[in-house]
C-alpha cells in the first residue's frame, strides 16, 4: 500500500532511477571491458574518465537545469579533493607537508569516511555562501561571476601555502579507491542528477530557464530552485574531487584550473547540456578521442606509413571536434533527450 502511494505521489521517481541506470550503462560497459583487459594503464585512464563523469554530471545539474555556463564547478572539485586530503592525511605525514596548518589541522587525522562527511559539509556551506550571490544574477553576468569565483579560489589555493601548499603537490592521501568503487559512486551521482532533473523542482527550474517571466507568473520560486541546483552541483563535483584524491594520492591546484574547466565544459556542451545522458556521452567521446589522438602524436606506423610526430595534436583535435559538434548539433549530441527517451518515448504523466 505504501509503495503504491509512494509511486503515485512521485511518478517520476521510478523513471528517473531506471533511466539513470540506462544513462550509466555505456560508462559501465566501457569500464568493464577495460577491467577485463587487465591493463593497468588503461584502468588508470578509465578511472580519470569516471572522475570526469562525476564532475561533468555535477556540472550538468547546474547548467542543464538553471541554464547559463558555469566556470566555477572545478572549484568545488578542488575543495572536495583538498578537504579530504587535509582531513585524512596521517599526522606524521602532515608534519612533513603542512606542519604550520592553521586551526590545529596539523594534529588532526580523520578516517576517510569521516573526512568525506566533513568535506561534504564544508562544500555545502561554501556552496550556500557563493550560491546566495550567484542565483540572484541571470545571464552573462552570472557566467562572469562564476569565472571570478574560479580565479578567487585558485588564488587562495596558490597563496594559502600553510594549508594548500601553493604550487607544490599535496601528497600522502590514503589511496584506497578502485575503479569498481568509483563506478558505483558515479552511478549514484548519475541517478541523483536524473532524480533532480525529472522532479517537479527540476521541471520548474528548466521551465524558468526557458522563460523566466512565465515561470514567475506561476509562483515558481526561481531563486530558491537555482540555489538548490547550485548546491547539489557543488556537492556532486566535490565528490568527483574526493574519489580522485583517494585514488591518485597526490593533488595539485593547477590540475583543477582552466584547462580542466574547459575540458569538462566542452564535454558537457558536446554531449548536450540539457541531458544527463549527454554529460556521459560527452565524457566518453572526448576521453576516448583524446587517448586515440595522443597515440597519433607520437608518430606511430599506420598501414606501413610512418607518421610524423605531432605534439599538440590532441588539443587541436579537441577544438575541431567541438567546433564540428556545435555546427552540426548546436544542442549537443543528445539534445534534451536521455537514452531512455529514445528507447522508450515518454508518456507524459496523466495522474
Amino acid at each position: 500500500m505504501t509503495s503504491t502511494n509512494q509511486s503515485r505521489r512521485r511518478p517520476f521517481l521510478r523513471r528517473a532511477v531506471l533511466g539513470g541506470l540506462m544513462t550509466a550503462l555505456p560508462m559501465l560497459l566501457v569500464c568493464i571491458a577495460i577491467i577485463a583487459t587487465g591493463e593497468q594503464w588503461m584502468v588508470r585512464l578509465a578511472y580519470a574518465g569516471v572522475v570526469a563523469v562525476v564532475v561533468v554530471v555535477g556540472l550538468q545539474i547546474q547548467m542543464g537545469n538553471s541554464g547559463g555556463v558555469s566556470f566555477s564547478h572545478t572549484v568545488f572539485v578542488a575543495i572536495g579533493a583538498y578537504a579530504v586530503a587535509i582531513l585524512s592525511v596521517p599526522v606524521q605525514m602532515k608534519k612533513l607537508i603542512i606542519p604550520n596548518a592553521p586551526f590545529g589541522l596539523a594534529d588532526l587525522s580523520l578516517s576517510p569516511a569521516a573526512a568525506v562527511l566533513v568535506a561534504l559539509l564544508i562544500v555545502a556551506v561554501l556552496a550556500v555562501i557563493t550560491g546566495l550571490v550567484i542565483v540572484r544574477v541571470s545571464g552573462i553576468a552570472a557566467d562572469i561571476l562564476t569565472l571570478c569565483l574560479q580565479i578567487i579560489a585558485h588564488s587562495v589555493f596558490m597563496y594559502w601555502t600553510s594549508l594548500f601548499r601553493g604550487s607544490q603537490a599535496f601528497f600522502g592521501i590514503p589511496q584506497f579507491m578502485t575503479l569498481p568503487a568509483a563506478l558505483a559512486v558515479a552511478m549514484a551521482v548519475i541517478i541523483g542528477a536524473r532524480i533532480f532533473r525529472d522532479s517537479p523542482w527540476g521541471v520548474q527550474l528548466r521551465a524558468s530557464s526557458e522563460n523566466l517571466l512565465a515561470a514567475r507568473c506561476f509562483a515558481v520560486n526561481v531563486t530558491r530552485l537555482r540555489l538548490l541546483a547550485w548546491i547539489l552541483s557543488a556537492l556532486a563535483c566535490s565528490i568527483g574531487g574526493m574519489i580522485f584524491a583517494f585514488y591518485i594520492g597526490t593533488i595539485n591546484a593547477q590540475s583543477f584550473y582552466f584547462p580542466y574547466v574547459f575540458l569538462t565544459v566542452a564535454m558537457l556542451i558536446l554531449g548536450g547540456m540539457n541531458s544527463v545522458s549527454g554529460a556521459v556521452v560527452g565524457v566518453l567521446i572526448i576521453s576516448i578521442g583524446i587517448e586515440l589522438i595522443r597515440n597519433l602524436e607520437n608518430g606511430p606506423v599506420l598501414f606501413g606509413i610512418e607518421l610524423p610526430t605531432l605534439y599538440g595534436l590532441s588539443g587541436l583535435a579537441l577544438g575541431a571536434v567541438i567546433i564540428l559538434g556545435m555546427v552540426l548539433r548546436p544542442a549537443g549530441i543528445m539534445g534534451t533527450r536521455e537514452f531512455d527517451d529514445i528507447l522508450f518515448p515518454r508518456r507524459p504523466e496523466t495522474e
Binding site: R9, V203, A207, A214, R216, C217, F218, A219, N221, E349
Partner: protein, 233 residues
Amino acid sequence: MLSISNLVVAYGPVLAVRGLSLEVFKGEAVALIGPNGAGKTSTIMALAGLVPARGDILFDSAPINSLSTEDRVRLGIALCPEGRRVFVGLTVLENLVLGAASQPDRSRRKQDIDYCFDLFPRLAERRDQVAGTLSGGEQQMLAIARALMSRPRFLILDEPSLGLAPRIIEVIFEHIAKLKASGMTILLVEQNVGKALAIADRAYVLASGSLRATGKASDLAADPETISAYLGG
C-alpha cells in the same frame, strides 16, 4: 476585490505609470485600454509583483505591495502574460502541471486539468503535443488554461488577441466570455478596443501613464470622441 490607488511605476527616470487609481469588483470584467506605451503592461506587472511600484494595491481589502509574486499567486491573482510565453519544449499537459506550481494539493490537479480541457476541448485533443508545435491561437488557449491551473479568483489577461488572426480572436474572446459567465473576475488589457469593450462591464482608458477616461464599457463604446482622442481609432 482589487483596489489600486496612486500607482507609480518608474524605470529609472522614465515614468511608465503616473499615479493611476482603479478598482475591480468581484465578478466583474474590467478592460484596461490604451495605445502602445500607455503603461497598461507596467500596471499589471506591478499588480503581479514583477516590477517594483509605489502606491497602494489592496486585494480583498488587504495591502499586497510587499508580497512576492509567488505569494500573490497563492492569494488567487493569476497573470497570463503578453505574448503567451508557453513553455515550447514541454507538452500541453506538462505546461498545465507547471501552472499548478503553487498548488501543493495534487489530488485537485486532475480535476483542474479536466476543467481546463472542458473549457478548451482543442487542448484536450493535443494534450501530449509539444507546446511549440501548437498554432498561435492554441498557444493562447494554453496560456489562459495554464493561468487557471493556479485556481485564481482574479485573472489578468495581457493582450490575449496579440498577433492572432481575426477569426481566432473571435474564438479566444468567446472563451473569455465563458470564463466571465462562470463568475471569474477579469482584468483585460487590450489594444483591440472594440473587442475589449464588447466583453467588459467597465473600462479604464490609459494614455501616457495616466487615466484619461473611465466608465461603463457600453458608454465608452458609444462615445467615439473619447475613443478616437486616445486610441486613434
